[in-house]
């Protein structure tokens, strides 16, 4: 049985050596105003892996991403990102580390007073040592990745919701980060646009081998990710051949009441006996 070679090359799987993990959560506890949000969260994200995080609204999925980015600090526990214990780092040190991480926010969070070009180029302009020509070249590359080169001079308010998400992805990938955190990138979008966004995430995973955490409410999105790979030759995602499922670097994490109740791959998810999970995925 032939399996596609592109996406699975070098993938060590979720149970890989801890040295290969790009993100590690160890017994993380967080409460907001005495209300527990996350309680004893422990998991790891392997190099090259994409992990989809599910849970009902308010279960702490977005908070988990903000913790991984160091935007929120945990009350207890340790978080390691790219080998750094971010719970012990000062904000100034985190700014350096964040340059190696991309994040796509729930509502895109584009700077509304800047053009698409300036939004995407933001990180390069902040670095200060990149020439205008180089910035333009790299912005065009990033926007062509999301097929939005023609929107360079537009303001975010002139774009549709789906286009804004794609610009947010372009902004996140322009410096080719080692990890990308996606917070509900398809939330509130129509199915066609959602599939376009998911294809971009698969492309990033399979072409650039970027590790990522993906918060989503849409099970179908993550099942598409677990059952498709990106073919560079035809420049589109294709379904894996029968029997190849689970061989793309894709994991699943389910949160309930601030705790992780599932952490595994698509095969384990489909064979789970947990009633809550079965009901959730049905």
């Amino acid at each position: 049985m032939a399996t596609p070679t592109l996406p699975i090359e070098g993938f060590a799987g979720p149970q890989s050596d801890s040295a290969q993990n790009v993100i590690v959560f160890e017994d993380v506890v967080l409460a907001f105003e005495d209300k527990p949000v996350l309680d004893g969260i422990s998991f790891s994200l392997a190099h090259g892996e994409t992990k989809a995080i599910f849970g009902v609204a308010g279960s702490g999925k977005s908070t988990l991403l903000k913790l991984a980015m160091g935007l929120v600090r945990p009350d207890e526990g340790r978080i390691y990102v790219l080998g750094n214990d971010i719970t012990r780092m000062r904000e100034e040190e985190l700014f350096e580390l964040r340059r190696r991480i991309g994040m796509v926010f729930q509502e895109s969070a584009l700077f509304d007073s800047m053009t698409v070009r300036d939004n995407v180029a933001y990180r390069l302009m902040e670095e200060g040592d990149v020439s205008e020509q180089e910035i333009d070249k790299r912005v065009r590359e990033a926007l062509s990745f999301v097929e939005l080169e023609h929107t360079m001079d537009k303001l975010p308010s002139e774009l549709s919701g789906g286009m804004r998400r794609r610009v947010a992805i372009a902004r996140a990938i322009i410096t080719q980060p080692e990890v990308i955190l996606y917070d509900s990138p398809t939330g509130g979008l129509d199915p066609v646009t959602s599939t376009t966004i998911i294809e971009l995430i698969i492309k990033q995973r399979d072409v650039y081998k970027t590790s990522s955490l993906l918060v989503t409410h849409r099970l179908q999105d993550s099942f598409i990710m677990a059952s498709h790979y990106f073919d560079k030759k035809v420049n589109k995602m294709l379904p894996l051949l029968p029997g190849a499922k689970g061989e793309v670097p894709m994991g699943f994490l389910i949160l309930r009441d601030g705790k992780i109740i599932f952490d595994g791959d698509v095969q384990q998810l489909s064979h789970t006996r947990d009633e809550y999970i079965r009901e959730y995925i049905s």
Partner: protein, 269 residues
């Protein structure tokens, strides 16, 4: 149903929690102010952002400052005219307008006008960025929002308020002159000579120290309420109102203490 919602919104808070919240707010404000100053000595310095803010605050506020300054000077002259006339000292009107505008009215009027215009603008702009996660996005992109957003606003406001106050003082004198010359029939040359000669170093110094403090208050209070805004558009509206109210009250309270300190330090009448 509606009553239930109202009760939920009017959630009671214990006095100790209320005091804790207020102390926490003061602590956060003090930290923001300290970091705004500390960032002046750390790279990167956002010079372009500072110039842009200076243009917005300085040039943008100029029309209202000119009008408010001229109106204040004119009203001051008008109100004092009848009293001075009773004592046969109408000629002192130039001294009264000059000292009143330069030492006190000019800085206060300018401070309050800029607070109304810019503290609200900063709170609403930063508040909108906060509730739409743009501030988080900025941090995620490796930029310190304190350096990029707060420090340029503080520097620009302090710098521009200083010059706006001078302009306000000048137009206050012009307003006073219009009343004195056109309505009361005083000699124009005498008015300007008197208003110039009466000013002592202490008057000018007092008048020019104040905007430095007021500019700092306006920018830090505006930024503080913006950076701590939460609760969507309603929260942004609340932050905007609070920024104007708190900065205006702080300006008036600071004015009292600052004037007292300067009187003691400079030993003037």
């Amino acid at each position: 149903m509606a009553a239930g919602n109202l009760l939920t919104e009017l959630e009671l808070i214990s006095p100790s929690d209320f005091i804790k919240q207020k102390i926490l707010s003061v602590q956060q404000y003090a930290l923001l102010s300290a970091r705004a100053i500390g960032n002046l000595f750390q790279r990167p310095l956002y010079v372009a952002d500072t110039v842009q803010q200076a243009d917005f605050i300085g040039w943008g506020s100029l029309p209202i400052i000119v009008l408010a300054g001229a109106a204040s000077g004119a009203v001051l002259a008008l109100n004092s005219a009848s009293t001075l006339q009773r004592f046969g000292s109408l000629g002192l009107i130039a001294q009264l307008v000059s000292v009143g505008m330069v030492r006190q009215l000019g800085p206060i009027i300018t401070g309050l006008m800029v607070a109304g215009r810019n503290a609200s603008g900063m709170a609403s702009e930063l508040g909108s960025m906060m509730v739409t996660e743009q501030i988080d996005a900025m941090r995620a992109l490796g930029t310190d929002p304190m350096k990029k957003l707060v420090t340029p606003r503080v520097v620009a406001t302090v710098f521009m308020l200083f010059f706006l106050t001078i302009i306000s003082d000048l137009f206050g004198l012009v307003g006073g002159a219009m009343v004195a010359v056109l309505m009361l029939g005083l000699d124009s040359h005498q008015y300007w000579t008197s208003s110039w000669q009466i000013l002592a170093f202490q008057d000018v110094f007092t008048g020019l120290v104040q905007p430095i403090f007021y500019g700092f208050i306006i920018a830090t209070v505006g930024c503080f309420y913006g950076m701590t805004a939460k609760g969507g558009t309603q929260g942004v509206g609340r932050a905007t109102t609070q920024a104007v109210v708190v900065s205006s009250v702080m300006i008036l309270v600071t004015d009292f203490f600052l004037t007292r300190v300067l009187i003691v330090l400079l030993g003037f009448r």
